[in-house]
Symmetry: C2
Amino acid sequence: MLADLRRPERTFTIRQLCNEFKATPRALRFYEDKGLLTPAREGLNRVYSHKDRVRLQLILRGKRVGLSLSEIRELLDLYDENDDGAAQMARSLKKFRERATALEQQREDIDGALIELREACARLERRLAEIRPDLLPRAADYDQVLRARLDGHADAVMGK
Amino acid sequence: MLADLRRPERTFTIRQLCNEFKATPRALRFYEDKGLLTPAREGLNRVYSHKDRVRLQLILRGKRVGLSLSEIRELLDLYDENDDGAAQMARSLKKFRERATALEQQREDIDGALIELREACARLERRLAEIRPDLLPRAADYDQVLRARLDGHADAVMGK
DNA sequence: GGCCAAGTTGACGTTTACGTAAACGTTGAC
DNA sequence: GTCAACGTTTACGTAAACGTCAACTTGGCC
């Protein structure tokens, strides 16, 4: 295949990468502003190399697991200094482990909040059953459940 | 006890409530700005009634479970309209249930991120073990684990 | 020539929950 | 008299990750 994505000399426009990874042009330019990407230019237009594409993948992976852009940049910088990559891998491993423990903590916090929420719900349900059973919402609306699942998504990990 | 906190005519200064609930004066004034609290005045100074104290408790409880201040305000507003409180309870129950499903979703997202993280960690560990086993960080630093536990806290639920 | 699509560079707006001065008033202790 | 400790208001700062204009250029196509 002549258009194989992995052919190293292949280049990409901003929109191609946006489509492929479901990002916006604004986001890619923003990453560039922040030093995460440094695509070549053809006149004014950005030209993304195969390496740029890999970096973008790493950026998005970092975001998915909840790293901040500045943390991601640090890791990418190490990736460039390229002392065979070993030191960079060690630092990445450390960051990832830190992030994992932080996420575990977040999960515990959420569990605590859920306990408090369920208690509050139970109290309200009991009192409503006494006073005005007709106002008691049966089960959760399907609508809302669905909407809640369609929003949030991976963004929740980033604390949005 | 003459100073029983539940004595309805008892009043509180801003600092007393701050100490009791570990908030800052700035925060209470901010809640007032946002319409969540409306303490009386003695000259310029704020005087918090027993009812204000209850409202503050509700505010903080709402925050702990991850509601935004504007959501909390909506609930408190309903609390005031006070048609025997039943309608307000029904709305609160609805909000709480919505919040619960959102938190459950967040937990799933976190679990997904944790899976991706653990895979990445495993890959890095294997490759480091091959290339430079000396750089492989043994276990997580005690320091960092402790720090991670002391920060985050309930704030994590709020997405901080 | 004329127009559209897609690219570019600023630069300001958004959101949340306060923190952080700055500048001032009041009260009580010494 | 004056210093500390508490209170007040006004108002700007913060952080993150872009969204959303605005105003312009470039290339292609008819």
